[in-house]
Each structure stands twice: as structure tokens, then as C-alpha cells.
Subunit: 354 residues, 2 copies
């Protein structure tokens, strides 16, 4: 098979972790006889610095021509805390999501036995937790118009909009995944307050009977925020709108104790995108110390969800687990033990695959 | 002093827990020589059943004439899961907040040593955590217009609006509280995406220098959702907009392991309101088994924030702590030990005060 991918390292630690993910992808392609063709593009703060645009047209072109996008991380301290900055890296990210039609962000929430003691939750609550958050990614308050300020600057407004089509699309995706898993969908909304949430709930209630072998639960977002901590094992597939998903998926990722290991997939109309959940971690940039595993596991998701190559993805996972068991880990995980460099961890995994 | 209060028991366990809070309030007034005058009103599902309106005009009148409102809980299963119900209990709650100008909801997040083992977090993370969430309560996505559906019903929209005045008012309140505490304000927003959040951050950056002895931190709401679990002790006063506050305050309350013990205060333009954080718990209604402590501690907050009667509030707290230490607790806390009835716990506390 020919893998035609776009590689967008982004800012901060992005380039370093991406190097390892590309090396791992190359090793897998060699092993399984796939042809890898990739091109690199700029995005985020580094793209603003070079072109004034956080998501330049050439980068978009590159993504549109790809079958999958590997994405590192974006963001730079120099654009934070400046509410009046005209161009911000995040705008590029949002434009990219919209223009590529990346409507569903999928985050598997899984634990690693060797890291369970790093969870802020009591081990017995989180051990064996295994669920999936599906976040709508191109609608809602992030993109609704009008958004802005009154003329005197003293009133600001954002608009949340959802259409039936957007909601149906992602709910069907949630049921599809639940059918391959533990057969339970939890729809999270705020239907007791918001009109958009009432449309979500109405459509969910229409769709649920079409999947008679799958259980559907409804939770208000505030209750979901509690339940994720109190009883994470009660979830199988959690599906929700953009802003709620932003908050809940970050909350869900932190309970595993392994934020540096969690990848995500964004399913799109034109291509799919795979990226770690963590950010650009500017303090560690260039130091060869960050944890490359979430980025490498994003490549595993790319094989699985992007190309339906399950064995290839499984081998990456196996290699990552082996590195954890062998204690070949970066300083964020090493604790008392030896801390390996980012590049050493990557090389070990490539070597395992070879 | 004359205490002129409105008593709104609401639905579910509301009436039972309210009985105890009123008894405790009466005991305190007797002890300290205050005159208590109170009137009872209906609100929520029971008000819909009786009048068709979840917040009838008479109830509003009662609140407007009061110096403080004690509020139980509202909500009934028969109004949930029906996205098309014309009248819902929550509408009454929102109308009440708006009409009484209850612009700031304050939730102290405190732990109780005897209950720390019930926290879903590892004890060392949450022990001695002590912060305060201040949630804007009458603006944002909850109240912005337009809200509704397109004519064909297939598109829904909500509007988030904030004005400078609304934001300044609550930020000053946050700094006021921080000045009496650990001198740190954390402003939570999503300024990298939302126009309303950028106005929040801009105004916070204007106001912060007016309080040179108080440290100001800024957190994106998704990061805040992580930090509350990872490092709750890093907060002193967290202040945020309505919807973020809804989600984060529920998350924050659950990490203490003592949801049944947490009260809240809503500071208003016309009066102030005091209520437990937990809901109406319909399954337990009428069984004399629910935990009355959050409601009783709401009465303590009423003395402190509503009437500036600190000793009176402190004595209620002391009595509650004594009941916990004596093991006079309801079944949610009792575990292996003896479970007391709701009314027995209330009577024990009244007796302690007398
Ligand atoms: C950077 C920001 C715009 C983005 C979001 O809110 O979607 C991030 O938090 C994420 O979750 O990918
Ligand atoms: C019942 C609901 C409308 C309400 C809210 O969202 O404000 C509740 O969750 C709360 O936090 O008091």
C-alpha cells in the first residue's frame, strides 16, 4: 500500500517528537512492505513567524492531497496573554479543522499498568478504565457567527450553532465505535438550558432506536464532569459537542496519569489527522527530553483509523509497551530510575520494530 | 438583629433538608437573641404542578422582600429527558437568578478530615485543599438572545454575551475574597478561541494592577479542568463565566469526597440566596435518609455572607463538625457504622447548639 501523508511538526517540542513518529512510521512501512511518501508543512507560531499566517495555503494544499496528516503541537508563549494579538496560532488550528472538515476528534482514554500510580485518582477507580471520547470539532461556539465586539468594545459575543446534519453525522460515528466496543453511548449535553443541546438530545433520541443492541445514556455536562472522576469505568463511548468536548476530554485524559502517552485522531471529510493530546511544551523545546510516546501512538492510530492497517498499528503499540516495561522512558516517567532522551526512546522503539 | 428570610424548599429531598436548616437557624437565633421571621414559597417542579409556573410571581415577591433566601433543590425526573417540554423546573431557577440579580455563585471547596478517604483523588493531593469557586450566574450562554431554532427545526442556536459591567463586578468580588484569603485569583477563560473570553481576559488584565498584593493567574478552561484534579491545592479563588463555572464547580465539588456537605452562596443585587450544591435526589425523597449537612451549612453561609454574623456561622460549623466526629451521620457517610436518619442528624445538631 502507498501511504501518502502530510507531516506538520508545528511548534515547541513538535519537531522533535515528530522526527521519532516519522522514523517509526518508516520502520513499519519497511517491515510490512508499504511505500511511504511524505511532505512536511508549517503550521502554528512558526508559520506566523515565516509567513504571517498560522495555516498557510501551501500547508492546506499539502493536507488536502494527503491521505492522512501527522500533526505535532502548536502554540508559543509569545502569543499567549495578549488578548489583542491580531493573529494567533490557534486560529490556524481552527481554520485547519474547518477547511479539512475534521468533524470528529477521537480520544481513546486508556491506562498503562506501569503508570497507574501516576494517576491523581485512587488506583481502584481508574485501573482498567477504557473509554473513548468523541468530540465534535467543527461546529458550536468555536465557529458560530456572529462573534466579536460591540463598537465601543464593552460588549462581546459568541454564537453557538448546530445543524441536524452535524449532529447526526457524529452520533452515527459514536454508535459505530460503540458497536465495536462495549455497546454503550453516553450523549453529553446541557439540554436543560441550551437550545443547541436540546437539538442534540432530540436527534440522539431519534437515532438511538436505530441501534437496538447499543445502550444510550444521557448526561448533563456538569454531571459528566463529576462522573469522569467518580466512576470512569462507567463509560464506553462518550460523545459531545465541541466546547464540552474540549473540557471533558482534557479532564478525562488527566485521570489516566499518562497524558504524555495519549494520542488522538480527527476524522475528516477530506483527510484525517493524528496528533498527541498534549501541547507544544515550549519549556522543553530543543532539549531532547520530552516524551515522544503520544506522538508515536498517534502514528499507530493513523495506521488503524487512517489506513485500516490494524497489524501495523498493533506492532507500534507493542513496541511502546515494551519500551515502558524495559524502563526506556523519558524523565517525566522515569522517577527514580534512569531517564532516557527523547531520541533514545524513539530509537529503541524503531529498533524493536526492525 | 431581625432576620427576614424567604424559605424555598423546592422538590425531592428539598423539604426534608430545609426543615432541618430552618430548625438550626431558629436555634441560632434563639441563642444569639436574633428575631427570625420567615415565609415559605414554592419553586421548581412542585410550583409547575400547582401553578404552571416554576417560579411564580408570589415567590419572587417573597424573595424580593427578604434579606436572604434559603433554597433547597429543584428538579424532578418527570421533566427530564423531554427536550420538548414547554415548561421545565430549570427555567424557574434561571428566571429566579436573573430577576433577583444573583450575579455571583460562590462555592467554598473544603475537605473534611473524616471524609477525605471518600475522595476519588489520592488523599495527599486533596488533603487541606481549600479554595473558592466564583461563578458568574446571570450572563453568558445561559441568558444570551437569540436562542432557539430555525423554522424547519433543524438548526439550533444559543448566544453568549458579556458586558464590561458584568465582568468587572464579579472580578472585583473575586479580588475582595482573595484579599481575605491566600491572595491569589485564577481567572479561567477560553481567550484563545472566544470573543467573550477575550473581553474577560482584557478586563482582568486591567483590574489586576489595582490589587498589587494579589497574584493573578490565567488558565484556559480545559487546563483548569485538568488542574483541579492534578493540583487542587494550587487554587485560592477561581473566578469564571457561567457555563465554565457550571462544569468546573461540579468537578471541584466532587474531588472533596463530600458532595453532601457542600453549600453555596449566590450574591445578588436584590437579595442573596443560599443552597446546597447537590440536587433534589428524587430517589430519596420522603424517606428521611438524605444528608442535611450541605443545607445546614448553607444556613451557616447565610449568617456569614448574608448577615455578616460570623460567630453564628461558626457555631453551626462547629456543630456540624461535632456531628461528624460523633458519627451521627446519614447512610451516605455511615459506611460500616450506624446510619442515622436525616431528622436525627438535624435534631442532634440543634441540640448541640442549644
Ligand atoms: C488550542 C485550542 C484552540 C484547542 C481547542 O480548544 O480546541 C485545544 O485546546 C485542543 O483541545 O485541541
Ligand atoms: C439545573 C441547572 C440549570 C443548573 C445550572 O446549570 O446552572 C445547575 O446545574 C446548577 O449548577 O445550579
Amino acid at each position: 500500500m502507498k501511504l501518502n501523508i502530510a507531516v506538520l511538526p508545528g511548534d515547541g517540542i513538535g519537531p522533535e517528537i515528530m522526527n521519532q513518529a516519522v522514523a517509526v512510521t518508516q520502520a513499519i512501512c519497511n517491515k510490512f512492505g508499504h511505500e511511504l511518501s511524505y511532505k512536511t508543512g508549517i503550521v502554528g507560531a512558526c508559520a506566523i513567524d515565516q509567513t504571517g499566517d498560522p495555516y498557510p495555503a501551501e500547508t492546506h494544499q499539502l493536507c488536502m492531497e494527503s491521505d492522512a496528516v501527522l500533526f505535532g503541537a502548536i502554540g508559543s508563549p509569545k502569543y499567549d496573554n495578549d488578548p489583542n494579538a491580531k493573529v494567533r496560532p490557534e486560529q490556524g488550528l481552527l481554520r485547519m479543522r474547518k477547511q479539512l472538515g475534521l468533524y470528529a476528534n477521537i480520544r481513546p482514554v486508556t491506562t498503562f499498568p506501569s503508570l497507574i500510580h501516576k494517576s491523581p485518582l485512587r488506583s481502584e477507580l481508574v485501573e482498567d478504565a477504557d473509554f473513548m471520547c468523541i468530540r465534535e470539532l467543527t461546529g458550536g461556539l468555536y465557529f458560530g457567527k456572529p462573534q466579536g465586539r460591540s463598537e465601543d468594545g464593552n460588549t462581546a459575543y459568541d454564537t453557538c450553532i448546530y445543524t441536524r446534519e452535524e449532529i447526526e453525522r457524529i452520533l452515527h460515528l459514536a454508535y459505530k465505535f460503540a458497536g465495536q466496543r462495549k455497546k454503550k453511548v453516553t450523549v453529553v449535553d446541557k439540554a436543560n438550558v441550551l437550545a443547541t443541546s436540546r437539538l442534540w438530545r432530540q436527534i440522539a433520541q431519534e437515532i438511538a432506536p436505530q441501534y437496538p443492541d447499543i445502550q444510550t445514556d444521557y448526561l448533563f455536562v456538569d454531571n459528566a464532569a463529576m462522573r469522569i472522576i467518580q466512576w470512569p469505568k462507567s463509560f464506553d463511548v462518550l460523545v459531545t459537542e465541541n466546547l464540552f468536548g474540549d473540557i471533558l476530554t482534557d479532564e478525562a485524559s488527566v485521570i489516566t496519569g499518562s497524558l504524555g502517552l495519549l494520542p488522538s485522531a480527527s476524522i475528516g471529510l477530506h483527510t484525517s489527522l493524528f496528533e498527541p493530546i498534549h501541547g507544544s511544551y515550549p519549556q522543553a523545546a530543543g532539549k531532547d527530553i520530552a516524551n515522544p510516546l503520544a506522538m508515536i501512538l498517534s502514528a499507530a492510530l493513523m495506521f488503524e483509523y487512517g489506513f485500516n492497517l490494524m497489524e501495523e498499528g498493533a506492532l507500534i503499540r507493542e513496541a511502546v509497551n515494551a519500551s515502558l516495561e524495559a524502563g526506556v522512558v523519558t524523565e517525566d516517567i522515569a522517577e527514580g530510575g534512569k531517564a532516557y532522551k527523547l531520541s533514545e526512546v524513539g530509537a529503541w522503539i524503531v529498533n524493536y520494530i526492525n
